[in-house]
């Protein structure tokens, strides 16, 4: 028992735990659509693309962390809608276009941050997260914006399901397809901003994809898939932080490794069952 309680006597540990559970749940639910619509590369690119925005905010605020959420949010929404528009009108293939933008923006972000002397530490926090540094204020932002994302998904559940399964049906039913697509991109963008501090841009795609993919192996129903994904993500958050505490490994990496382990177990279980 003390094994489980010991880390929780530290307030930053408790805050980190709450943050990673909440972020995990939001990522997993949004990630269900990312997995079903084959948008993993888009999610990865989007997370990387916000780095110059964060860097700019970081330079302007002189290193303060608390305003960075807003910079991340603004950049993520702009990038998501931008990538969405480009992939519709591009002369090159969609994944090529995304690849070019994402690497270019990521490089710009690194270049901006490298102008600051202490950049190595800060950069690693942006890249891999700093869940133990979550402030009370950041926690509130996670609760509010994460809650908004979940409410929107619940409100447009049937529209998103119809659009994802059969876009042609969505058009013949006269659903506002363009609006819904942009809304989904925006939700992914908000999720990316919310998750920045727990897992960082480099590992973000794992939180979007891995728990949802794990759940996809185990169920054939969309609501069940969302709930299972949320459960795996929340468990990964908690178990990852304990691992991080006792093994002294980076927290974001520990969370992602735990989620990956769940995936492997589900994958093996399914293979065994089908033999």
């Amino acid at each position: 028992m003390s094994f489980l309680l010991e880390p929780l006597q530290y307030e930053f540990m408790l805050r980190g735990m709450i943050a990673s559970v909440l972020v995990g749940i939001v990522c997993a639910v949004v990630g269900t659509y990312v997995v079903l619509r084959g948008m993993a590369f888009f999610g990865d690119a989007l997370a990387h693309t916000i780095l110059p925005g964060i860097a700019l905010g970081y330079l302007i605020s002189g290193g303060a962390r608390d305003t960075l959420f807003w910079w991340a949010l603004g950049t993520a929404i702009a990038a998501a809608l931008g990538i969405g528009a480009i992939s519709k009108h591009a002369q090159v293939r969609e994944d090529t276009a995304i690849g070019i933008i994402f690497a270019g923006m990521f490089a710009l972000g690194i270049a901006l941050i490298s102008t600051v002397r202490s950049y190595a530490v800060d950069l690693s926090h942006f890249l891999f997260g700093d869940v133990l540094g979550v402030s009370v204020q950041s926690l509130w932002l996670i609760i509010i914006f994460g809650g908004l994302v979940l409410l929107t998904i619940a409100a447009f559940y049937k529209e998103f399901m119809t659009l994802s399964f059969d876009p042609v049906l969505a058009v013949t039913l006269r659903l506002p397809v363009g609006l819904l697509n942009n809304l989904l991109l925006t939700l992914i963008a908000v999720t990316v901003a919310v998750s920045l501090q727990t897992v960082g841009v480099a590992l973000m795609v794992a939180m979007l994809v891995t728990p949802a993919a794990t759940a996809y192996l185990l169920t054939h129903r969309l609501p069940v898939m969302m709930m299972l994904a949320a459960m795996f993500a929340a468990l990964s958050g908690v178990a990852g932080l304990y691992l991080s505490y006792y093994l002294s490994i980076a927290s974001g990496a520990a969370i992602v490794l735990t989620a990956t382990l769940f995936f492997l177990l589900a994958f093996l279980w399914k293979r065994m069952k089908s033999i």
Binding site: L36, A155, F156, K158, E159, M161, T162, S164, F165, D166, V168, L169, V171, T172, L173, R174, L175, Y216, T219, H220, R221, L222, V224, M225
Partner: protein, 267 residues
């Protein structure tokens, strides 16, 4: 061009005028004009790449024409939701985590309105649609567990739940075994009572002749459109299929060298 049919009730359900669609710089459809009557079943026949899918997509409002007009029951397709488009089986993600009644309920998703959840009447419509296509027993099955014929019947149920008046089916018979094909065609016959107009793309001329009121021969242009025995003449067929046609025996029994899968839709 519009022969008298027994099914001419009131005004046309679908009125297509001078329709042209360009695709990658080539004419996919050229100057197509025709109309359909309420409750009619029409087979659209033509070689791969003749523009059958394109025609369906324009009528459904998924694709915009470069010229011409499509009017459904007097209004343009984008302002009307009485059309159901049944996709080719290869274009569906069968591993999507939904069961049969989920898919049928999707037909209601626009009528529920934003933020709306299914009400009693919606569940009744879904249940009734599943009864009509005889899938009630399988309503909780994941869609990948259905046979080809059951998959097509599920989409017909979705069209019914949608309360569609015009149903467009893109090669629903392709890849089905003969009993499933016959079952599906019988089901389409029973829909006649519900005044659902049906347009089916198919490769099977003989089946088209037996089960449909009118046949549309399409090869970018409208080669012929009328009752089967008027349309299925060697001249018309030669014009539609060119060299890929082999007269077998007599004048009306024909065989078409045409691969039934893939090709036209690999874009």
């Amino acid at each position: 061009m519009y022969p008298h049919t027994d099914h001419q009730r009131d005004k046309p359900i679908l009125d297509v005028r001078n329709l042209s669609v360009r695709y990658n710089g080539r004419n996919a459809l050229e100057d197509i004009t025709f109309h359909l009557h309420v409750g009619e079943r029409v087979a659209v026949v033509g070689p791969n790449g003749a523009g059958k899918s394109t025609l369906f997509k324009v009528v459904a409002g998924v694709l915009l024409p470069n010229a011409g007009e499509v009017n459904v029951s007097g209004s343009r397709p984008l302002s009307h939701s009485c059309i159901a488009y049944v996709p080719q089986r290869t274009q569906v993600d069968w591993n999507f985590p939904v069961n049969v009644s989920d898919v049928v309920m999707m037909g209601r998703s626009a009528k529920l309105g934003p933020l709306g959840w299914p009400k009693k009447r919606d569940w009744e419509l879904v249940r009734h649609a599943l009864e009509t296509v005889e899938l009630v027993r399988l309503s909780k099955r994941q869609i990948s567990e259905l046979s080809g014929g059951q998959q097509q019947r599920m989409f017909i149920a979705r069209a019914l739940a949608q309360e569609a008046e015009l149903m467009l089916m893109d090669e629903p018979l392709t890849g089905l075994d003969t009993p499933s094909q016959e079952g599906l065609l019988d089901l389409l016959d029973t829909l006649r009572a519900q005044n659902v107009t049906v347009m089916v793309a198919t490769h099977d001329l003989e089946q088209a002749a037996r089960h449909f009121d009118r046949i549309m021969l399409l090869n970018h242009r409208l080669v012929a459109f009328g009752e089967p025995d008027e349309v299925l003449h060697t001249d018309n067929l030669m014009q539609a299929y060119g060299g890929r046609l082999r007269p077998v025996d007599g004048q009306n029994i024909l065989n078409v060298d045409d691969c039934c899968d893939e090709g036209e839709h690999a874009h």
